[in-house]
């Protein structure tokens, strides 16, 4: 019994540190000026992940409304006090922003994608932790 407990503890020690950090968030959705998608203080036109130590904010923009028009997305991260990231125009584009490159490495935060102006945007919005 004691041997089994030791093995279980060893297995937990090997598995838990990775599973506690690993995370993936994805949503396919429209982002319009009226979208409210789980963000904090800066939420109009935004979709956000839950809280985690996300290291990558990733988006693929595939559609717009009105069709044929361009919209602008802010692609990055959000904390209780700040959003930070890069702008990309879509559809027909992708963005990837890494947290360590925007001075947010190791920060507990949300992945944040915010429609900024122009046409509403449809796409795949992802986060990796």
């Amino acid at each position: 019994m004691r041997r089994l407990a030791c093995l279980a503890a060893l297995a937990a020690a090997l598995v838990l540190p990775q599973s506690a950090q690993a995370g993936y968030w994805v949503t396919w959705t429209w982002i319009t000026p009226g979208t409210y998608g789980g963000c904090m203080w800066y939420s109009p036109g935004s979709v956000c992940s839950g809280w985690n130590y996300w290291y990558l904010s990733d988006a693929l923009l595939t559609g717009s409304d009105p069709g044929g028009q361009q919209g602008q997305l802010h692609c990055g991260f959000q904390t209780n006090s700040m959003i930070r990231g890069a702008f990309v125009w879509g559809p027909g584009s992708t963005c990837q922003v890494y947290d360590t490159d925007v001075a947010m490495g190791g920060v507990y935060k949300k992945v944040s994608h915010t429609w900024w102006q122009g046409a509403s945007l449809y796409g795949e919005f992802e986060g990796y932790a």
């Binding site: 930070r84 990231g85 990837q96 925007v102």
Partner: protein
């Protein structure tokens, strides 16, 4: 990018640097040789700076494969356009689009991308500026601010102007070999950037005011 590729990113840096670089370069050559066109073609607005070829890091390979898988872009190998202010800027041409990236320059010989923006040909064809800058908003703050200014400009863009609250140009940054970057403009309130020709005429205005 899937779970497998994510774990690849995490495990490879644990190998010795030389071994990892060799393995990734070999993997990239196989990947590039199997699925790439014989010669990547530049698309969109002309950018004469072709850059210099660079090796590719596991992280950059992962980022490019992810962009390809999602968007259907068929990309060639990255080239380094410049190193400015501790940052390296990269170009990745493709047959149906292109990408630009920036990252810390200490990784310039094995690029590690901090920001990667890709666009298909029809979008790229309209771009005078590919703004790789980072912008932020703080809660209770007055508006958007530039955290870091850098990007790629098309031929004919002589400088990039920073737009203030009233929409007027409050600062100018020269464009050299298609690159603009400023070590001093970080954390400045701004509502956008404009591409300017040698006479100060506006070629493109990117407004970030909501």
């Amino acid at each position: 990018m899937n779970g497998a590729s994510t774990s690849q990113t995490r495990s490879l840096p644990r190998l010795g640097g030389a071994v990892a670089a060799f393995l990734v370069s070999a993997a990239f050559l196989v990947w590039f040789g199997q699925s790439r066109p014989a010669e990547a073609t530049s698309t969109g607005t002309a950018i004469s700076n072709a850059g210099v070829p660079v090796a590719i890091s596991p992280q950059a390979l992962n980022a490019l494969q992810s962009a390809e898988a999602k968007s259907g872009l068929r990309l060639g190998p990255p080239t380094r356009l410049a190193v400015r202010n501790g940052r390296a800027l990269y170009r990745i041409n493709g047959v149906n689009g292109r990408c630009f990236a920036a990252g810390k320059s200490e990784a310039a010989n094995a690029p590690s991308f901090g920001v990667l923006l890709c666009s298909q040909s029809d979008t790229a064809a309209r771009q005078q500026l590919v703004d790789l800058s980072i912008y932020d908003l703080t809660r209770g703050g007055e508006g958007i601010r530039i955290h870091r200014l850098e990007g790629v400009a098309a031929d004919g863009v002589a400088s990039v102007g920073i737009l203030g609250d009233a929409g007027a140009i409050i600062a100018r940054v020269p464009v050299t070999r298609n690159i603009y970057s400023s070590p001093t403009l970080g954390d400045v309130a701004a509502t956008g950037v404009v591409a300017l020709n040698s006479h100060g005429g506006v070629l493109e205005r990117l407004s970030y005011q909501r």
